[in-house]
């Protein structure tokens, strides 16, 4: 129990580290996903914007939802939110604390995706290549083309192999310009996120520190209580199953004894534990019948059979019957099958 408590304490005090670890792994997965993704700008006037902005904004949304899904505490939050009040009041500040801490962790992978995308530059180049200021950056002596033609030419900027507008505006100039804008946006985004994180973290002790400690304690409590309850239920289920199966075997052996009109063979005093564990089933056919009965007709989930005055086997032991067996109920089940 001590060792379990040590491990539990270590885990508990490190649960935050564990969640931070998952968060870090998701951020790394996000960068890996981006480098593995084969970006393919369509180089067509209206499709570029949709594709570029789609790649910039849709995966972060997916990663955000994934961050919630992978967080075990989401079901705990939902349960605490939806349970009826009963005898225990609900504290909205605890719910808010839980939601905020989950949302903060879920925001990291999307923010990493957006930063990496902007710093790399391909998305913005693809999305906004038709908006390049041709007047300032383009060649002064470019041929006059209609607006639509210009759009079509500019849309091919990201695709160097098919770009045919060198006279309009040099490809490298346009790409450098767009990438510069994209990287500036990227760094500003990272700075903004870091500043927000810093402010959130450092302003909290200045206001409502006591309320924060309270919410944190009770949210940990809810988590621990749920885990302990699950463990207690698992222990209970184990004992329930053990007693149920023991009663089944005893019932089987008593039935067979009753059916064959044998005197119960009393185990000799020095037979030891092994004989007891045989639970009265000592030959092949009996065991086969027990197994068949277990499969065809499982015993009811009831360890409270009505007590019957039976003299089967306990008369000589001098102990009060702790498991008053239910030969009637087991027998009825058995015979109905036969």
């Amino acid at each position: 129990m001590d060792k379990f408590r040590m491990i539990f304490q270590f885990f508990q005090s490190n649960q935050e580290s564990f969640m931070n670890g998952i968060c870090g792994i998701m951020a790394l997965a996000s960068t890996q996903m981006y480098s593995a993704f084969d970006f393919n700008c369509p180089c067509l006037p209206h499709y570029n914007l949709a594709y570029g902005l789609g790649i910039l904004l849709v995966p972060p949304f997916i990663l955000f939802l994934l961050g919630f899904v992978l967080n075990n505490n989401i079901s705990m939050l939902a349960e605490e939110w939806r349970r009826p009040q009963g005898q225990r009041g609900k504290d909205p500040s605890v719910l808010r604390y839980m939601f905020c801490s989950m949302a903060q962790r879920a925001m990291i992978a999307p923010a990493v995706w957006v930063s990496v995308t902007l710093l790399d530059g391909k998305c913005i180049t693809c999305a906004f290549c038709t908006s390049v200021p041709v007047d300032t950056l383009g060649n002064a002596s470019h041929p006059h083309l209609s607006q639509g033609e210009i759009q079509r030419v500019l849309a091919r900027i990201p695709c160097k192999e098919i770009y045919n507008g060198q006279q309009l505006i040099a490809n490298e100039v346009a790409i450098r310009y767009l990438r510069c804008i994209s990287q500036a946006l990227g760094w500003c985004f990272v700075l903004l996120m870091t500043t927000l994180a810093f402010l959130v973290r450092s302003l909290r002790p200045c206001f409502s520190q006591a309320a924060f400690l309270k919410s944190r304690y009770w949210s940990h409590y809810i988590d621990i209580e749920r885990k302990l309850f699950d463990e207690t239920c698992a222990e209970h289920a184990r004992s329930f199953a053990k007693v149920c199966i023991q009663q089944f075997f005893e019932g089987m052996s008593t039935d067979l004894v009753a059916a064959r009109c044998h005197l119960p063979r009393k185990a000799p005093a020095d037979a030891g534990e092994a004989a007891e564990k045989l639970l009265g089933i000592t030959d092949q056919s009996t065991m086969n019948m027990a197994l068949k009965s277990w499969h065809r007709c499982k015993p009811p989930l009831n360890l409270h059979p009505p007590a019957l005055p039976t003299g089967n086997g306990w008369a000589g032991e001098g102990q009060p019957p702790t498991h008053p067996s239910a030969p009637q109920r087991e027998t009825a089940a058995y015979y109905s099958w036969v």
């Binding site: 508990q12 005090s13 450092s202 200045c206 940990h220 209970h236 329930f240 409270h304």
Partner: protein
């Protein structure tokens, strides 16, 4: 319990090592970020300065803020600063000590970024290529003012069609890189001398105050950690008691409502205790439903 205490003590006494480790990791991350970042000078007259200086100064600010955020001690210091005095006086020397140690550690990664940037040279070449004196370089000497600005702005872009084979471009580039590296090494030298002097001369001034401040700052840190762990332990015991009470109350309720004879005496094999009087499917279902619909009050008195 002993082993846990040993591990805990080891960790505690090495809280400074943990912070130094984080500081080192951030510095390495800063170098890695720089090498994986694709520097792409826009080669346009006004944009160059903004881009070059932006890349040189904005990431250090970000790294500095990250250094503050990742350092646990900054929260401890803020709490100590903002708490009401109550029955324990606040010692400003301790808060100052903690603040300075946090700042020193947070400054390492930004300084590493700036030095790596300067030693590499690309940022300064991008930012200041438009500010060199064109008369010093043969290729730019006899060009009109407007054009020279455009040309100089394109110096950082080696692959630009105008600059591909321009020897003056290489001259300007070398000149600016030389300045950049000189600046980088000078800053590094000054910082190392400053750190050396600070470390060697510190024992000459106020050593006793320093020892006190360090002791009490460690103490505040440890106290905070132990408080959090005690709260965890307490909530575990509280939950345990609460659940036991709940099972007991369910057992009482079942005894009241069911008509079967109550089982007397202890079970021979101890399983009875674990069953806690819940012995059939309906009772288990009722228990689980009650757990959800009517959680027990938070009161284990």
């Amino acid at each position: 319990m002993d082993r846990f205490r040993m591990i805990f003590q080891y960790f505690q006494s090495n809280s400074e090592s943990v912070m130094n480790g984080i500081c080192g990791l951030l510095a390495l991350a800063s170098v890695k970020m720089y090498t994986s970042f694709e520097f792409s000078c826009p080669c346009l007259p006004q944009y160059n300065v903004v881009y070059g200086l932006g890349i040189m100064f904005i990431p250090p600010i970000i790294l500095f803020l990250c250094g503050l955020i990742l350092n646990r001690q900054s929260l401890v210091m803020l709490e100590e600063w903002r708490r009401p005095a109550g029955r324990r006086k606040k010692d400003l020397a301790v808060i100052r000590y903690m603040c300075s140690s946090i700042m020193q550690r947070a400054m390492v990664a930004p300084v590493v970024w700036i030095i790596v940037t300067l030693l590499d040279g690309k940022c300064l070449i991008c930012a200041f290529s438009g500010s060199v004196d064109p008369e010093k370089f043969v290729g730019f000497a006899n060009v009109s003012t407007v054009q020279v600005q455009q040309l100089l702005a394109k110096v950082p872009c080696k692959d630009d069609e105008l600059m591909r084979n321009n020897t003056s471009r290489k001259a300007v580039s070398r000149y600016l890189r030389c300045w950049s590296q000189a600046l980088g090494w000078s800053i590094l030298l000054i910082l190392i001398i400053a750190a050396f002097l600070a470390r060697w001369l510190r024992p000459c001034f106020n050593q006793a105050t320093l020892l006190q401040a360090r002791h009490w700052s460690n103490y505040i840190d440890i106290e905070q950690k132990i408080f959090e762990e005690t709260c965890c332990e307490h909530s575990r015991l509280f939950a345990h008691k609460c659940i036991l009470h709940f099972f007991e109350s369910m057992r009482q309720e079942i005894k009241l409502h069911s008509l079967s004879l109550p089982r007397e005496g202890e079970g021979a094999d101890g399983e009875e205790d674990l069953l806690r009087g819940i012995t059939d499917q309906d009772q288990v279902n009722k228990l689980l439903k009650t757990w959800y619909c009517e959680k027990p009050p938070l009161d284990v008195s």
